[in-house]
Amino acid sequence: MNDLRILHLEKKYSKTAAAGQEPFVLQPVDLTIREAEFFTLLGPSGCGKTTLLKLVAGLLQADSGQLWLGDSELTAVPPEDRRFSMVFQQPLLFPHMTIEDNVAFGLKMQKVKRKKRLSLAQEMLEFVGLAGFESRFPDGLSGGQQQRVALARALVADPRLLLMDEPFSALDPGLREEMRELLSRIQKQLGVTVLFVTHDREEAFELSDRIGIMGNGRLLQVGTAMELYELPASTQIARFLGMKNIIPGTVHGGRFISNEGVFEFSAGNSVKAGEWCLILRPEALQLLAPGTPAPAGALLVRGEVGRMKFHHGLYQCKLHVGGAQLDCTLSRQQAESLAAGQVYDFFVLPDDLHLVGI
């Protein structure tokens, strides 16, 4: 198997640190990306994801650690000999070359004969929906089309790994959506291994088989989109994933009690005593129909319904519980049966009560 194995890869920027600031350090990263997997590094700006990508590409030299692809070690191999491809944030096409020459550039470097490389370039252009653009120059194409050409250039050389550094961030939302669909389809069809970098949660969740969340130069958690969303490993990850219902409290004698004393439930004996945070996903809060009992073991939450906003076919609602304000997602039917300012009962199933350490 040609898995990509990153072993204890580390990088320290000592020279670029501004006066009085700590130099940026990419803490040792250990990660395995499986063959034909779509893996995304997700994190805010400046968290080290592009540094890690460039270390994998060979464009930056690691201070320590190793990089393996299958049985071959690539740590000291220069980028030009790794047979990887990359799509950057900007298309970075060569303006003096035609579109087909741009696409065939990698093949030319691999010394593929002109006739063959141009025919492969034409095929790939057709694949990304740009047949007929072969003899044009990059400045005659729109931003989205140029990024498609950059994608074709990266794919045509049959790379062992495709690296993508926020490739759609400069495109407008509609085009971004279109490019995501195109990339997803092509990746599945060609079975290429992809290491993708983005700060856009939606993009990462939509495209990836697995996601690695990064923050402050560390790889914080790796998992599928669902694992990360339902079971974030820390409040930092939960916040980055957009969760707002983070309720601090303590566990004592196997029971969690929130700091305001509003939420109390059995945390199980495996949870150590100490300070913890309860993370409640907005859709985990379910409306309890009047007169019906809550399911066994569920946490009952009584709160005053506040402002409601219609968003993507659902209602986002604020729920005031004690001193806390919770975000809650309701279906249209449920939302229409509620009146703002009134008190209602909600419940959370035991499996949806997720505790993380502070």
């Binding site: 590409a57 060979g58 464009l59 220069p78 980028p79 030009e80 000999d81 790794r82 047979r83 990887f84 491809s85 990359m86 950057f88 900007q90 970075l92 060569f94 303006p95 003096h96 070359m97 550039f105 990698g106 030319k108 470097m109 691999q110 120059f137 990059p138 400045d139 250039r153 050389a157 690296l163």
Partner: protein, 294 residues
């Protein structure tokens, strides 16, 4: 109305001076080359002077020398300037300090030195009793100063060629450097990821990007050296002289009757220069120097 015409009115003194001195001079030269010379009673227009020029051996030998010097100086200046430009570009890529800027300024130094001074520098360096020959003699490379090849005031024109190569190389690099500086640092990353080593990068990206500007710069140097006067006058031999010197000699050493011939040489020179200018314009349009650049 005033606002629209104001810029033109402000430009009028400069334009009037150029028209009067340049075009006026050219027109006067054209009339005199056609034999119109009221001072000696000649008021007819005829092509006698042109016929005499074309039939004289001196003109053709002078034209041959002029072409040789112009071609060799522009090729040498082009090669030197190209190497200079690419070196500066690579230096700029490699270093994050201001080192490249210092070198850039240093290499531009010949631009600030007048051609005449450049010519003297070449005389002092390359004549048989010059600095270089003395240095080689003292090092024992040559036995006598006379063993040093004649590079100044030589019939082939090496002195002139060396002067122009030295003087115009920074001009060529100055013209191509803005194009090279538009090559983004990230293109090197792109090319590396796709398998290009440094030489591939220079061959595939740097050279094709600079080629149109480089060719035009070399053409400009060619046209300039083709019609330049002071350096050939200083560093050339008495016979054959380059066309501008040949014309000057005809104008100053002969009688009034020789003047139409001297001016005919000038007019032929101007016509050839204009024709070459049109060639440059044609190629710059055809190649679209900035083709593909957004």
């Amino acid at each position: 109305m005033w606002r629209k015409s104001k810029p033109y009115l402000l430009l009028l003194p400069a334009i009037a001076t150029i028209v009067l001195l340049f075009f006026g001079g050219l027109f006067d030269g054209l009339l005199k080359s056609l034999g119109y010379f009221p001072a000696i009673g000649e008021t007819r227009l005829e092509l006698t002077a042109y016929a005499e020029v074309v039939q004289s051996d001196g003109f053709w030998e002078s034209l041959e020398l002029t072409l040789r010097v112009a071609v060799l100086s522009s090729i040498l200046a082009g090669i030197l300037g190209g190497i200079l430009g690419v070196s500066l570009f690579l230096l700029n890529e490699a270093s994050k300090t201001g080192q490249a800027r210092v070198w850039h300024r240093l290499f531009q130094l010949p631009l600030t030195i007048p051609h005449l001074v450049g010519g003297y520098v070449v005389v002092l360096l390359f004549m048989q009793s010059g600095l270089l020959s003395k240095l080689l003699a003292s090092l024992g490379v040559i036995d006598e100063l006379t063993d040093f090849p004649v590079l100044v005031n030589d019939p082939f024109g090496w002195g002139i060629i060396l002067t122009y190569a030295w003087k115009e190389a920074p001009f060529v690099s100055l013209l191509i450097y803005p194009v090279l500086s538009r090559i983004q640092r990230s293109w090197r990353d792109v090319s590396r990821v796709f398998g290009a080593e440094k030489w591939n990068f220079i061959r595939e990206i740097v050279l094709p990007v600079m080629l149109p500007s480089w060719t035009i710069a070399v053409f400009i140097v060619f046209v300039f050296t083709f019609s330049a006067f002071e350096v050939p006058f200083l560093l050339g031999v008495t016979y054959p002289g380059m066309l501008p010197v040949y014309s000057y000699q005809l104008y100053t050493s002969g009688t009034f009757a020789d003047r139409p011939e001297a001016l005919a040489v000038n007019i032929i020179l101007a016509a050839l220069t204009i024709a070459l200018g049109l060639v440059i314009y044609y190629f710059s349009k055809r190649w679209q120097v900035w083709k593909g650049w957004a």
